[in-house]
Symmetry: D3
Subunit: 190 residues, 6 copies
């Protein structure tokens, strides 16, 4: 079970240029290639759409902080038992929040995490979207507005939870393996 994926993992040289360039770029930035790039590369059209979607939601400026966006990923991925996403996005969360503890806390039980009341409300809603979105009601929107979330921020919470509902399922089915590097990232003060 130590392969990256149950599905084919192409060699870099066999990939379309734009896919390869994206992978090379992330390698240069991170020092390694997160396996999700390799595990999705056998489907270039899906690869492009996946990362375009991901970037639109996760690298957006304004509104939720980048750490908060990662909190949503880690909390909902924990609820979906997604090994890849909890480990990889847990690492990113630790780095973005500059907090070595919060990722494990949020992944196990966000109710016990060292987060603000506003972040708690954000994660409560994200978990409802992840686990029983058909029960979302006007009352949820009213509560989020009272907590100071703009309509745009509410969409972001929901869209991130929804995107990782997809991502978790892809990772679970393919048995996508997180890189060993992720486990330790952001845990040790530099």
């Amino acid at each position: 079970m130590s392969a990256i994926s149950r599905f084919p993992v192409p060699e870099l040289k066999d990939l379309p240029g734009d896919v390869r360039e994206r992978i090379v770029a992330v390698q240069e930035k991170s020092g390694f290639v997160p396996n999700v790039f390799l595990a999705l590369a056998h489907r270039p059209a899906e690869f492009r759409a996946f990362f375009a979607y991901h970037d639109a939601l996760m690298d957006k400026e304004g509104g939720l902080t980048k750490a908060e966006r990662e909190m949503i990923v880690v909390a909902t991925s924990g609820a979906n038992n997604c090994h890849y996403c909890v480990v990889a996005h847990g690492a990113i969360l630790r780095i973005r929040a500059k907090n070595p503890l919060v990722a494990d806390q949020v992944a196990i039980n966000h109710r016990k995490a060292d987060i603000t009341a506003r972040q708690r409300a954000m994660l409560d809603f994200a978990m409802k979207v992840a686990l029983e979105s058909h029960k979302v009601e006007e009352a949820d929107f009213a509560a989020l507005a009272k907590d100071g979330f703009s309509k745009d921020e509410v969409w972001d919470i929901a869209a991130i939870a929804a995107f990782f509902a997809m991502s978790n399922r892809l990772a679970n089915v393919s048995s996508m393996r997180p890189n060993d590097e992720f486990y330790l990232m952001g845990r040790v003060p530099k």
Copy 2:
């Protein structure tokens, strides 16, 4: 509750050119604009990624038939209680399968639908991906291989179920309303 969405729906004239063109094109082809195009248009980058991903999975040639791809959408959207997707993709399924009954059958209980044994196996797996993807195991892959599914087809089943896990959540949260036209499409012989 008769609005298209809980979130802003921009006017066509205010949209980026490529988004507007895509909407105009679907209108010309279908005779109306499915509301999902309008409900996602307030976020052009997400709109582009969403439909690029959708088309890569649903309009693909070879492997699963287009009707089978829609079966996966309808069955999993039923399990997720997604009003928009069951109604809209139910219509598309009726048309693609040239079968006025199968969409309602698959949405309510795919075990009772007039489908082949192979399609039953396909939907069993799609439902597992939709509802408990963390329990997918080697045994599932072995069973699908025995039923004659190629690795590529298995990915397609999983990826469609995963994509609509996202889509269902977006539609549920935004209370996306299916166009009235969908309810009757494909039910009456022409």
Copy 3:
């Protein structure tokens, strides 16, 4: 799987007179015999009790409208994944409500249906009876009273949800097949 039932379906001529008469009467009224009559006929005593019970709850004058009674059936049958009841009673609901959309809406997610606030409260309670009746409490009765439901109407909601808890299970176990006619009934304006 295109048979009417997994259990014996007797010929009309072999049935007790009163059972046959009931079936002939419904055929004359509807133009066809709904399969539930044929699927239950092999047990005449149960057939008689079933339809006596059904009529006492569904054809009652006063209180809930007949369309509202059918809404309860369709919503709870959707929750129980009952293919026969969603399709057959969906048709009756469309006709009684003179609304071609409401049945599909209620079957998939009653929270998104074009119904009144009072009907929403009615269906919320019906779903609680269908899915977790042991948690019904005084507070539920107080809320229903505040929404203007009489004690008799509350009993009707509960009794209809309870009767179809039985009916759904009989249909699911026997794999009772709805007549093809039901799928289109009430969808096309005459």
Copy 4:
């Protein structure tokens, strides 16, 4: 909470003759009136249908023994947390099985009860009908046939589980209170 029901309980003298006669008859036979008769009497048409149905399923000769029929009631009523049915039918089961222990065993966990392998298979199926009837499949029928159950017996198991799915919900909603007499019946050797 010591009333018989949350709904009206009419006086005997105000009831239609046949309903009153049935109640008087059971009182003479049992020495007391089980509260279900009083709790349903405010709806004479439903009362008649309920007991006609009940008797058709529970007092039938041949096939399943009367004790086995009660086992199905007690096991599924336990799963539905139905106070009235577990206590009242538990008493009847003890008497019909001439076994002071089996009712409590079956109500809590039928897997641990002192019953035959055939009865275990019967209860496994009854519980599936009670809790997830939409998953009943041909394989269940094949297994029951192998265990020696006739088609008629399979219908009986399913129909009893279905009837008490209704009955449990009525009792839970009305907070129907079992007579104190039931708790001790069949526990002490005469």
Copy 5:
């Protein structure tokens, strides 16, 4: 399935002195040896810790009454489908509460039991601890304080529910059989 346990049951003479003495003492007090003593005896160190823990929680003076402590056991053991604990502690509850009905009521659905509002609040909290302890929040503590529970009493409720979460699992896995004597204890006025 009439053995006491799926695991070894040592003979009294082969047990360490303190374990044997404890067993002899309970036999003298109760007139028989509850099977839990025999089923755990094959592991003397665990036996000692189990009963030390049990006694610290169940035989404590002050705060919750001994009957209330047993109510917590019976309600949560019912939710965990623990045959041994419902039957054995049901007997003890009947005796301690001097009430022949309350144990069956609490085991099936504590919402319908003849208990005080305070006991109802106690059992609601105990059930939350038993079934979804990760959702316990400050709001639960505030509500219990308002109902007059001291911090020490809240701990007792939680600790008893937690201890029997363990005990139920041991009994379920070992298929621990309650002594026949328990079924009738406390049901008949002396």
Copy 6:
């Protein structure tokens, strides 16, 4: 939420001698006092029983390795969303298994962990004990015997899963906070 517990945490000097000694001993061995010792100390009798039980199960020689015992704790604590136990026992697992990755893997989804087939079977059974112990059957025992587990080892698996069913609930209710030290322990090669 940065306190150790919602319940009183006594000062060392106010504790009974044996309790204080145990705490001092663990501090000397570990370099810090794991918060569970402080959070349980307000109840000395329970403290003594808890740790006696814990040591009997976790420090036992022979049979399951100590790392395997910790795997059971981490997997079932993940399923119970227990923040304290996943973090603290995750640290111990990393150290005992000399593996910096396995704890996160087992906590999120043991099906994807780098463990042996035998350990996988062990954890499957432990999860069944943790989540639905009433469904444990002879077939589970037969399967474990085939995988080479002795009866004593099966008891250990079940007893550890049961003990932490208790422990998880105590930690969840008290909002027990894991020491910051645990998060990093065993992750960095010395």
